[in-house]
Symmetry: C2
Amino acid sequence: MLVCHALSGSHHIAGCYEDRPNSDGWWENMVGPGKPIDTNRFFVVGVNNLGGCYGSTGPMSVNPATGKCYGADFPLATVEDWVAAQARLADRLGIDCWAAAIGGSIGGMQALEWTLQFPERIRNSMVVASTPRLSAQNIAFNEVARQAILSDPDFHGGHYYEHGVVPSRGLRLARMIGHITYLSDDQMADKFGRQLREGKLKFNYEAEFQIESYLRYQGDKFTGFFDANTYLATTKALDYFDPAAKYGGDLRAAMARAKADFLVVAFSTDWLFQPTCSYEMVYAALHNGLDVTYVEVDSTAGHDAFLLDNPYYHGAVRAYMERITT
Amino acid sequence: MLVCHALSGSHHIAGCYEDRPNSDGWWENMVGPGKPIDTNRFFVVGVNNLGGCYGSTGPMSVNPATGKCYGADFPLATVEDWVAAQARLADRLGIDCWAAAIGGSIGGMQALEWTLQFPERIRNSMVVASTPRLSAQNIAFNEVARQAILSDPDFHGGHYYEHGVVPSRGLRLARMIGHITYLSDDQMADKFGRQLREGKLKFNYEAEFQIESYLRYQGDKFTGFFDANTYLATTKALDYFDPAAKYGGDLRAAMARAKADFLVVAFSTDWLFQPTCSYEMVYAALHNGLDVTYVEVDSTAGHDAFLLDNPYYHGAVRAYMERITT
């Protein structure tokens, strides 16, 4: 089966490198022997998406035409392109048909896209915390994140590698904005509230509230391992994805081609991709006579819930996986 | 009566300058002869808050100690400081007691603060689309906006005036983030949806979707008239405001001093300061035996609704004003 990653993920889903004991994969709690996605039963394939910064050809790769990094000249890949590239990998691996494809967030878009672009090559599509299209508000957040990077003087039109710099100010802001949208209002209140770092106000621009400190830390950390051009391009792929657009916005018509069974999972406090986005996919699948299981998990964790341990969520994935025959 | 302004407002509430026919005030639809706040009945006072950039002493003022602009050395003023300054203005004007103070958003915080700091000097407090304290999510959005400005190379530690530049990249991003939080998800969907500017995708980083174009326009426009140091300081005042903090978080105890009657107005789709924030003020006022009128206006316009024309909202303010005796 195929596991598709989200914005900052990679092909490294689970397990650690022999010489690096802390190198866990991003979905360690979901994938492994005896886990909900049980590697004792399934051969699990992870792919770094085209344009990524963890090994796939992308903006950091050398452009043979110039002998320099592609940078901003690397073509913008869409969710459709990612899935087409994954299909070519499947060809190479001799996989005619996946037992299942699963992904959260943008990963879920890929799991959906597989059923549309290659309906004969996927038996089960597991779409978690995802949406069939971004809303204006979703695009707005992506656009501010992009503008933060594009307007960073160290961006150099996307050719910062040649200047020996990275647009870290912009990438940091982009990640901070992202983190606000990944957490629910309630969870932020529970986790940070109005707690101060040092017990009293300082009346300056240092981090005074715990939430400020958290966001700065997340932003700083991200600039150390993620590429700004990949960030830009990935948010564009997100914005563009809209399989219903060719059908006048009718997802039911777009999904008429699909043949897979579906598991659709949404989280109650996910305000980035709200449960209503999942309803639309469930409705379109049902309309086309497809077998669809929908689980709405009560969780305070917002969009991030798809990465976290939750007995109802993991139980649902486990139960769904158990009914898939190999 | 006193009208308190929000983040980007000023003392110029209504009316235009004789020689500038398009110089309308920011609350033209609310304040004027025959309007809900009827200047035929009330003498209306507008103040530019301390630290502002429209005339009050602020970061752009000359620091007599150095002969240069204060810049980042201008002390951070709190909502309490603003109200204290307004009280000194009232002294100078010979106003012992306001018939009413009204404000939306941060303006509402000032209307509330008046009842706590000067309970004998205000008869009616009209708190619109406001909150008795910011949530962690609110602070998070402010913090990203501040980091955008603080990390702009043109910020120069807040002394950009001396360098003949303004941190326009950062201020632009701050305003874009702000605009996302002022509009509701639904209104963004209605107003912009996934509409493209030129009918087709361009696969580059130009503004492709209408919402991108809108945000860039709003961001660019803002940098032309607003000062970045004032923006920073105002978001800090917002973050700090929390009259209940001294009472273990109990707003009922904090409001025991208040004597004014209250009109509290919230808007159904305001996700920045949700109606639940208003409930807390209403509950605390009731608990203290105060006369409180609460209006929750059904509106798709999000937080921005407090600036817009709406018959229920304006009708409620008008009706409340009519019962105030002069």
